[in-house]
Symmetry: C2
Subunit: 357 residues, 2 copies
């Protein structure tokens, strides 16, 4: 019965969804290096308007096996949040340690405007954030990077440092040589020299940038004090939750430390090893020119990276702005949107007529 | 080049998604009354194991126009959260005041197991919760309900009270007669007597249950003290955020008050008008038999409903358990899941080969 046919959902009721497959195609349509550069630009823009953001701490649900977190933020016009889990044991079961998805919504009416996978996008934005920080902090002319820990984040870091900082040689080390072999294969076609190393000491030799991205959920000492010479930038990715650190305490005391959001980093970052009043510099102030970055060639700079909600917000903004150009999304019928907003029940009833008609 | 073809995403990487269209079809496949009864059963089960749940307060992002909230909870095995907005001005622009979606995930590995629309599902679970509370609190033999406020929630309440409490007559009033007309049409085929009324006083006449579900975001007095006689159960839905109440203060003083979760209801419910130590009874204790419900026929009972995260969790559990039976879902490629969990970058690279191959 055609007269009972419900109208199709309105435009606002449909939410663009970027699946993992869409995200991979979107990255290749734009080009991996251009995506990393774009993400760094969006993150830098958002950090430069830091004070406009509503900075809620992440909401964590802990269990014995891991954590599930919601990371919301808003700039007053757009609201975003990320769902992300962290389960270190997952790898042993053939699962990802971290999976994620995220959403943007219109603050004015509360309607979602984008739903996206964020496992890949988080890996990309983490690397873009690292390289962006290094552009302000690494010694001038740095071309060689050591990467300690050759797991899921390793090659993203390499690609971002090549695209954004001009790194042309990487030295890889992992306690598991299979991880290094995997990374070698992936880096092979990047147009960058890659050297597998036999120890941390070997890897950091001659490197001006040291990236640590190991995954153990425990206090570890990937870098001991004697391994870090002057004039180095350390990009510490892996220490990102309470009880999980990678650097020896003494390195922290020698370093000029830069962070995303101190209230979060003091709990989750390397600096959980230090007193709560140990001086750190917020990166948004460096990006704005309000605080100095590296002050001399001999200094050790440290980006104590834990990942902050605004980076996810920036990444989702970037993806949203690529949708029309790439067409890599599908519309999801996520929101009930009856013609008369008070007639939600009527919409439900008419769907029955339509199905039986 | 067929050898480079990436394997399809694994089963765990696919997340069942229930769209608005699926939800409507799922409801009709099972039957509206059976869905409401099922939801009430799941909510009752979960309230009876109240102390197993991680009860985080909702995380709200307020703006001048409304609020966007994340409502997480977990029973230790399953984690759930709901995204929900509240924008009272939306109706004037032809949009829903409230839209919502939700997610269930496995606490053990953090992988999502269900993504679902929740605009319709919230309307259904709110009504099921109201009727469940009334089954414990309303005077025996109650058959007539007044519904003050005939907006989006009205007909869901009527359907739930019919299915769960055996109500056979409803008396409707709204300041906007068009809202009442809309509700009349929708209730027409429910097998229940429906009487449009010209005033609140007219509507409550002869009713043993009074449901208030108006939508103004302001202190309102939908029910004044003189309108409420003895032996009545009040089901107050509309007072559900700071500054939004429906009942006169004096009614609250005469009533035996029942709530979902006191820390939330004291901020958001009718009892925000009372002192912070005014006695209230938690419904989970009533369901468990640890606290009395209605103690005599003459008493005024009040369910000060604001909506709690566990109700959404129960509703999502119910939906998940209907998926195989109804087939009303589609699988979303939401999670990146490479064969080797450390080889996220390789998965991305192989997708490029596959597309160009």
């Amino acid at each position: 019965m055609s007269t009972a046919k419900a109208p199709p959902p309105s435009k606002l009721a449909m939410v663009p969804f970027v699946s993992v497959d869409h995200m991979m195609k979107l990255v290749h349509a734009i080009g991996l290096e251009q995506v990393l550069i774009g993400l760094a630009e969006y993150i830098e823009q958002d950090f430069r308007r830091w004070e406009m953001f509503d900075k809620t701490p992440r909401v964590a649900s802990h269990s014995s096996e891991g954590v599930i977190e919601l990371m919301p933020t808003s700039d007053g016009e757009v609201y975003g949040f990320k769902y992300v889990n962290g389960h270190p044991k997952n790898t042993k079961e053939g699962l990802q340690t971290v999976t994620a998805f995220g959403l943007l919504a219109n603050v004015g009416n509360g309607y979602p405007v984008l739903l996206s996978e964020m496992t890949l996008l988080t890996a990309l934005r983490t690397a873009a954030m690292s390289a962006l920080a290094a552009r302000y902090l690494a010694p001038e002319g740095a071309r060689v990077m050591a990467v300690i820990g050759n797991g899921a984040q390793c090659e993203f870091q390499v690609a971002a440092f090549k695209a954004i900082c001009g790194i042309d040689r990487v030295r890889l080390f992992d306690v598991d040589p299979r991880a290094t072999s995997k990374a070698l294969v992936n880096i092979e076609n990047m147009g960058i020299d890659v050297v597998p190393c036999t120890s941390v000491e070997d890897a950091v030799s001659g490197a001006s940038i040291i990236t640590t991205c190991t995954a153990d959920k425990q206090y570890a000492t990937i870098l001991t004090d004697n391994l870090v010479g002057s004039g180095v930038h350390i990009n510490a990715i892996g220490g990102d939750c309470p009880g999980k650190t990678e650097l020896h305490h003494d390195i922290l005391l020698r370093a000029n430390i830069f962070v995303e959001y101190p209230p979060q980093t003091r709990v989750e970052g390397e600096i959980q090893q230090l007193s709560a009043d140990h001086p750190v510099t917020e990166l948004w102030r460096v990006f704005l020119g309000e605080a100095p970055g590296r002050s001399d060639r001999a200094e050790i700079t440290l980006f104590d990276s834990v990942g902050f909600a605004i980076e996810d917000f920036s990444a989702l903004r970037f993806v949203r702005d690529q949708l029309q150009k790439t067409g890599q999304y599908m519309n999801l019928d996520l929101l009930a949107d009856p013609d008369d907003p008070r007639d939600l029940f009527g919409m439900l009833s008419r769907a029955k007529l339509e199905n039986s008609g």
